[in-house]
């Protein structure tokens, strides 16, 4: 059994010179989310008796499609979020390599040093020292600074999901109000790090790191849409995500230069942007409905003309039929 475990470990172990896409690297956002929601304590949740290195077999597709046996499938948008969450929780049951736990612990403690040291290897090394692990472990992260930022992004997304699950006061808010609230909650999570956030953004924008950061942001936007319960069928799925992504990014950047107490100006800015987007949606809806009216009018007009023509044509026949 140990051999097959190690073989599985190595089947994904081939890495190219650029070091991209190794299975054993810091895992993709979906799997990371599923891992860390499980327990607050950093101990590996499988029994620690087996001293062999365990393998985390990364199967991102299965996490989404796994049917959770315990999810209650009640109607409503909240169940979509929670069943997706349950699906994610199911993946956590898989055994995963201890080193990933250790890496997560190092990153978690590194976050405490970010305000003084920035999103850098130095912060990660300080974090490693705090946890009691040699700072050499930082060398095992493939894209070091990015690993820290990505961990933080995943962490924030998890916290957002937890907040949503633990119940929010939504029912009295309009869709635009809900979206505003959700974005505000998410951005407040990164408010403590706002002094170093520009550095994090530049790290995320780096070509090597951009694919992962894009995926993480897409997951975040997805989550916000699901939670806000907006299921209008009028605008395209992609358009919705793009618009919301735009709102989120612009607000995030606005926040960087906002010095008002408790970011009051940022929330006002956010509300304005969301309102604009919903106004835009209404405008598009009106245009489309106008289009339907025009179509109906045209059909009526030409339909009448066609009826007249055909009456003229068939009148003769009716006349003749009448005679015979």
């Amino acid at each position: 059994m140990y051999r097959t475990v190690a073989k599985q470990l190595l089947r994904g172990a081939r890495s190219r010179v650029s070091g991209t896409d190794v299975r054993l690297r810091f895992p993709n956002p979906h799997s990371t989310i599923s891992r860390r929601t499980f327990s607050p304590s950093p101990t590996p949740h499988n029994s620690g008796e087996i001293p062999i290195p365990r393998v985390y077999v990364d199967l991102p597709n299965s996490s989404e499609s796994t049917a959770s046996p315990s999810s209650s499938s009640s109607a409503g948008s909240s169940s979509t979020a929670s069943s997706a969450e349950e699906g994610r929780r199911h993946t956590r049951e898989r055994p995963r390599g201890e080193y990933q736990d250790e890496q997560a612990r190092v990153l978690q403690s590194a976050l405490r040093h970010v305000l003084t040291l920035g999103w850098t290897e130095d912060a990660m090394m300080a974090g490693a020292r705090d946890v009691g692990v040699s700072p050499s472990i930082v060398g095992s992260f493939p894209r070091k600074d990015a690993a820290l930022v990505e961990y933080f992004m995943d962490d924030c997304l998890e916290k957002l999901i937890d907040r949503i699950d633990s119940g929010l006061e939504f029912s009295n808010l309009s869709p635009s109000g809900r979206i505003s609230k959700l974005i505000r909650i998410r951005l407040e999570l990164q408010a403590p790090y706002i002094s170093k956030w520009p550095q994090a953004l530049s790290i995320q924008a780096h070509p090597l790191n951009f694919p992962t950061s894009f995926k993480q942001r897409a997951a975040l936007i997805d989550e916000i849409w699901h939670a806000s319960g907006d299921d209008g069928h009028d605008i395209d799925w992609y358009v919705k995500r793009t618009v919301l992504g735009g709102i989120y990014s612009t607000t995030e950047i606005y926040m960087l230069t906002d010095s008002s107490p408790e970011f009051r100006d940022t929330w006002a800015f956010l509300d304005d942007r969301v309102r604009d987007a919903f106004d835009l949606k209404k405008t598009i809806q009106e245009v489309l409905s106008l289009q339907h009216i025009w179509q109906k009018l045209l059909v009526l007009e030409w339909g009448t003309r066609f009826k007249d023509l055909s009456r003229k044509f068939f009148n003769g026949e009716a006349y003749w039929g009448h005679l015979s």
Binding site: A6, L9, L10, A13, V17, V22, G97, S134, S136
Partner: protein, 271 residues
């Protein structure tokens, strides 16, 4: 010269005959394509290196076309050294890797998060003489299978082009695991197997025809370089070696092929 070669050939044939009869009784290991008794391997390897020592650097440059420098740079950058690190470089030879690590560490001192009172680099050497400069670099003689260092004492362990000369590779790996701290990394740079079809033939031709000839021309020693290229072929392929590293207790075992497999850097993490 010819007589010497002939007597060596005869000697090695005799040795292999001996082992053929006695293989049931003692453990045999490989010395290039020859099977030799375990007890003899380290002696034989020692002889090889005594012979090649004087022209070692020159031959490295000639054989790899200067690429070995790049490979070592890649090894050191993968290691990601930091100030205050305790590092062990095994089979260091003339100290290439150790010096590179020292340079890297010194150049990043400006962003050190603590003041290192003493960068400690320990170096283990084969029967080659060398000079230690400052307290940063310490040369030590020893055996990769039985290291002289306490448990959990090193942040990093590298072995560049040395592990295939060890008699019991598993023992060396276990020792590496013992000596590393939690979070410490094991890195091994070694000549490895090429699987790419066309390149493989070119590489084989180069290895078996050209290198021993160059060895003879430059160092006057065809046999040692013949041993060298044979030992490369006998060394386990990348996947198998990675399994061996995992067996020793390392986690996150990965490897990176350089030049399509001519050289591979294996890495492991101790937790």
């Amino acid at each position: 010269m010819a007589l010497r070669l002939a007597s060596r050939k005869f000697g090695s044939k005799f040795l292999s005959m001996l082992t053929a009869t006695s293989s049931l009784h003692s453990h045999a290991t490989s010395f290039g394509f020859k099977e030799v008794r375990e007890e003899d391997k380290s002696q034989l390897v020692g002889n090889v290196f005594t012979n090649v020592a004087s022209n070692y650097d020159l031959m490295n440059d000639l054989m790899s076309g200067g690429l070995h420098r790049l490979w070592k740079e890649r090894l050191v950058s993968k290691l990601n050294p930091f100030p205050g690190m305790k590092h062990l470089d095994v089979a260091g030879g003339t100290g290439d890797v150790a010096f590179r690590i020292l340079e890297t560490v010194n150049s990043v001192k400006r962003r050190a998060i603590q003041d290192p009172s003493n960068d400690n680099l320990h170096e283990e050497r084969n029967p080659l003489k060398g000079l230690g400069e400052t307290k940063s670099l310490i040369w030590a003689e020893g055996d990769a299978e039985a290291l002289d260092f306490p448990d959990n004492s090193m942040d990093g362990y590298t072995i560049a082009f040395g592990i295939r000369n060890v008699t019991h590779i598993e023992k060396a790996l276990v020792e590496a695991h013992r000596v590393l701290k939690r979070g410490g990394r094991f890195l091994c740079l070694e000549l490895s197997h090429v699987d790419v079809p066309l390149l493989k033939q070119v590489y084989d031709y180069y290895s078996f025809s050209i290198i021993p000839a160059v060895g003879e021309l430059v160092a006057g020693d065809r046999e040692s370089y013949q041993y060298l290229v044979e030992s490369i072929r006998r060394f386990p392929p990348q996947d198998k070696f990675a399994l061996m590293i995992a067996d020793a207790g390392f986690q996150k075992v990965e490897y990176e092929n350089l030049v399509a497999g001519v050289v591979a850097i294996h890495s492991g993490l101790k937790l």
